[in-house]
Amino acid sequence: MLLPNFEYIEPTTLEEALRLLSDMGGNARVIAGGTDLLVRMKLKIEKPSQLISLRKVPGLNQVIKRETHGVSIGPAVTAADLARNEFIRDKFAPLATAAGKLGAPVIRNRATIGGNLVNGRPAADFPPACMVFDAILKLKSATNEREILVGEFFRGPGETIIEPNELLVGIFMETPAPWTGGSYIKLGARKALEISMVNVAVMLTLQEPLGPIVDVKIALGAVAPTPVRAFAAEQYLMGRHPSEKVFSEAGAIGVGMCHPITDHRGTMEYRCLMIETLTSRALNLAYQNALAWKP
């Protein structure tokens, strides 16, 4: 399989990259890791006339602990880097776990968090993990700049609200409160190199070690045209004391949020049953991690 012809441009500043994006209109695509884009180009699903590489744009591949409470992640940070980042593993465990389950080592070495988000695939690994932290995405164009909540970013399979002249330049997350635990579970056929049949991320905060749940977020992937939050299940859990029974009830409520499809990876029926099981498992796991919270 051959790549179609295209022009390859390597801007060296963010301004130049944004100006190029503006000038090229809809014919250009941004390339970071290229693990998805190049495959789609070889399959002739996409035929951009220009590829604008972020390789030489400084500052986009860093994870920065902010002075205030939180973290700033560059869009060109690779899955491999996130999976092994100590701070992310400690405070944003679902994100690190999702990063470590994306594809296989060679893919993780190239694939970036920004690429994974802007692709807008319903089964992608990073979106649910970002959604449970209410990540804020910073979009920039040559003339404008805006911030948007990750939950409002996805529009449909392969569609997001990003404009052709915009670049995702940063992902910001607040460090969760004390006694928070998180989890990420992915169900696929194999133990690696999988596109999820169902994936679920959870962040759960306790008032105190034996106290009730004061904050909880559940996000599911591959169960609807976009990744979704299970708000009803979250509401049900708020203020309740954690227990297996409560978690399994939340799992059952979570299914109500979902509209999975039947495709060659799995049927709607099985996916619905797994949403229930995996949501309750992820909650249990997050709860165990919350109990083990350390400052």
């Binding site: 051959l2 169900l187 194999r190 190199l193 060659h264 799995g266």
Partner: protein
């Protein structure tokens, strides 16, 4: 213990450094001056009449050198077995599957060749297609080949003993059905070929194949070139597993385009094209009844098969025979009946793949044995041991088990897995299962009817006496045959392994039928051994003459020569050798004459020294129709125990451990044997749990990539305990026989039996996805 110096060790592969460093050249690495790039136009529809093909626009594109269709290629029919030649190089009247070849283009670049394909205009008149093997043989189904009404490509009816009467006499008859899915071999290297037609009228093909000899014959026949003018060279090959066992449209197109243009022509399949070409494992439906006595004695087996063949025959006529014949052992049966047929469908043709024709039916049979054992309250291991064949037994369908370490294999895994402490004692969700199997060690007959030698080998000494150059047409495809042949030659000549150099995979070197049916260790091994003996004998003859001693007292071992176990009086030979090599730093020394000095002496006396060897099996098999399929000079066998964990809430299966024993006769190279055993397990695990080539409603492959067609990753493979069992095969060189395919036989049923042990659910359709198992668990709980 044995006295082998080279054999039976864990010698590193002779090609290890070349492969590890990237020096090894594969077909796609070849570049030649003026080389053109070719591409094939393949049908986008599953079943259609071709009304018109217009190549004029493509021909006008700058950089296009030639475009060929059936008009240029002709309509000579070919296939694998002459009994079913049903293909032409290009489709002419109709296309029969998505991927059927229509035209080929040669251009100055790959990009131009691809663009030219898009300029070829084909008018199709689509006609109804049939994709399901059961639908295909129903009345009124679309007819795929006029010559084969009802889409029956081949059918087999065999009976040994009176099966109905035998079943009636049984205490218990148990039935089972089984359905696998079409598999892809997923070799790393897609098909690739460079064709060079020279001014002398000779065609040389550098091609990724398992069978240079058969490719040579088929290409010579279809392109109408005298067979002596076709040379097939197999460079390094990145795996075959069966689908590379036949001539491909790629080889014939490149050959034709090179013949027309006079330039080298290269083509490499994309991964998608590998899926479209297929020739991999069929889909099989098996239906069986096993009759036993209450004490566990097996009496009779009734076996039915339906095979989804796809649009052409490929190896299929042999495949449908194997599905029956390979159940004749390793258990004693009084009667066996087999009825099988292979249906044509509008999908890519299926062919041979590791464990040819036997894998799905073995899976059904070995599940059936476990089901029967449970019903009569017998341990599955005990039940198998009770019925096991031993060396010297003949199966009911006249396959001669000249050696058979089946019992030893079963005992080894029972011990190695701690079966007795696990079976029936594991917690819910954990299970243990076992199965056995056997396979041919080389097909007893060539694909075409002939008295040809199956293998010949030439060993030519270097003039200095230091290197034995082994020339063979056999195919090293990653399985390690070059290393095995080097070891056999070194052992026989009595020299160190590093003094043998193997030149293989070239039809100009020798005749060899190639790497299929697990034949090379035994057959090429025999020819290698004979060639080395011939060479050794010649050297000993010259030595005896020179030293005035009896030839029979001369022995070669570890690179030195002994005369009646003593050094002998060789001063004169050494003195002249040293004089010949004055100034050299590697002069022979020591108290014994070296092999190098002896071989140099032989050269001085007789000129270039050549030893030749040849092999063909003795007459094998019964006289009934189809008796040839399944015959072999020897049979390898294996037993496996698999332990699994099942997540009862999701249906996810984790294979925790595999214990595998294989009887390969003498293990020429223990490391290679273990490699084949573990590779077989991985392939079997993939077929059992993940793999399925899927089609949409119009016959297009839905998952033609290694991203969506799922073979096991390293994380899916458990730790494997490989136990080599070594019977002494009287028909094998140094007692050796196969391991390449037989090792896959027990894997699928052992996993399925373990899943049943863990869950109480019997799965009879592959692959066992988490969804399939979970839904079966839900169903079972609903009933309970």
């Amino acid at each position: 213990m044995n006295d082998f110096r080279v054999l039976n060790t864990r010698a590193p592969r002779v090609d290890a450094a070349a492969k590890a460093t990237g020096q090894a050249k594969y077909a796609d690495d070849f570049k030649m001056p003026g080389m053109l790039y070719a591409a094939i136009l393949q049908s986008p529809v599953a079943h259609a009449r071709i009304l018109h093909i217009d190549t004029s626009k493509a021909k006008k594109l700058a950089g296009v050198e030639n475009v060929v269709t059936s008009k240029e290629a002709g309509l000579i029919r070919y296939g694998v077995s002459p009994a079913r030649y049903d293909e032409t190089i290009f489709a002419h009247d109709k296309v029969r599957y998505v991927g059927d070849e229509i035209a080929a283009v040669a251009a100055t670049s790959m990009e131009i060749a691809q663009e030219a394909l898009s300029l070829i205009k084909v008018d199709y008149e689509e006609i109804p297609a049939v994709f399901d093997m059961f639908e295909a043989t129903k009345d009124g189904a679309p007819q795929i080949h006029d010559e084969f009404p009802g889409n029956i490509n081949a059918e087999v009816h065999q009976e040994f003993g009176d099966t109905e009467a035998a079943l009636k006499s049984c205490d218990l008859v148990v039935d089972h059905t089984f359905l696998n899915k079409r598999q892809d071999a997923a070799f790393i290297e897609p098909h690739s070929c460079v064709a060079v037609f020279d001014h002398a009228g000779k065609l040389t093909l550098y091609t990724s194949t398992q069978v240079p000899h058969y490719v040579m014959r088929t290409v010579a026949m279809t392109l109408q070139i005298p067979v002596g003018n076709v040379r097939v060279i197999k460079p390094y090959v990145g795996g075959g597993f069966g689908p590379k066992c036949e001539a491909t449209p790629l080889e014939m197109s490149c050959g034709l385009l090179s013949k027309i243009t006079g330039k080298p022509v290269k083509m490499t399949y994309s991964r998608e094209q590998v899926f479209l070409h297929s020739r991999a494992r069929h889909q099989f439906y098996a239906e069986m009844s096993l009759g036993v006595m209450n004490d566990g004695t097996m009496v009779a087996l009734k076996n039915k098969a339906v095979l989804d063949g796809g649009a052409y025959t490929s190896f299929g006529i042999a495949t449908v025979y194997y599905s029956g014949s390979l159940l004749g052992g390793p258990y004693k049966l009084k009667a066996m009946k087999y009825d099988g047929h292979r249906a044509y469908t509008n999908k890519p043709a299926c062919g041979a793949q590791r464990g040819h024709g036997g894998v799905a039916h073995r899976a059904c049979f070995e599940q059936l044995i476990d089901m029967t054992a449970e019903k009569i309250g017998m341990d599955p291991v005990e039940m198998r041991l009770k019925n096991i064949m031993t060396a010297g037994d003949m199966t009911v369908n006249e396959l001669d088990m000249s050696s058979l370490g089946m019992k030893e294999c079963i005992e080894a895994i029972r011990e190695g897995s701690d079966w007795n402490n696990k079976k029936g004692k594991l917690p819910k969700g954990k299970g243990i299962g076992m199965a056995c199997g056997f396979f041919v060690s080389g097909a007893g007959y060539p694909i075409y009817r002939s008295d040809t030698y199956h293998s010949t080998v030439v060993i030519k000494m270097s003039e200095d006496g230091g290197v034995a150059n082994l020339l063979t047409g056999s195919a090293e495809i990653g399985q390690g045959s070059d290393t095995a042949m080097a070891m056999i030659a070194a052992e026989t000549l009595g020299i160190p392994l590093e003094n043998v150099r193997v030149y293989s995979g070239d039809t100009d070197y020798s005749v060899d039928l190639g790497a299929y049916s697990s034949r090379q260790t035994l057959m090429t091994g025999h020819a290698t051994k004979e060639a080395a003996e011939d060479l050794r004998d010649k050297i000993a003859g010259f030595l005896a003459e020179e030293m005035n001693v009896e030839k029979s007292g001369i022995t070669f071992v570890d690179g030195i020569v002994k005369f009646d176990d003593a050094p002998g009086n060789f001063e004169k030979i050494r003195t002249s050798y040293i004089k010949e090599h004055r100034g050299w730093t590697d002069q022979p020394s020591g108290e014994f004459l070296t092999f190098r000095e002896a071989a140099r002496l032989a050269f001085l006396k007789g000129g270039t020294l050549v030893g030749t060897g040849k092999y063909k099996p003795h007459r094998l098999g019964g006289s009934y129709k189809g008796a040839a399929v399944g015959t072999s000079p020897a049979y390898g066998c294996s037993a496996q125990i698999v332990e699994v964990s099942v997540d009862l809430e999701t249906g996810q299966i984790t294979v925790d451990k595999m214990t595998d024993a294989h009887d390969c006769g003498l293990a020429i190279n223990k490391m290679s044997v273990e490699g084949q055993m573990q590779g077989s397990l991985s392939m079997g695990l993939g077929e059992c749990l993940f793999e399925e080539v899927k089609f949409d409603s119009r016959g297009r492959v839905l998952n033609p990539s290694l991203g969506e067609y799922k073979i096991p990753t390293a994380l899916d493979m458990p730790n494997v305990r490989s136990i080599i069992v070594e019977s002494n095969e009287p028909n094998g060189p140094y007692g050796a026989k196969e391991v390449g395919e037989g090792a896959i036989m027990p894997t699928i049923p052992a996993i399925l039996n373990a899943i049943y042990d863990a869950t109480g659910v019997r799965i009879n359709e592959l692959p066992v996805t988490s969804e399939k198992l979970f839904m079966a668990l839900v169903e079972k709980n609903r009933i309970v």
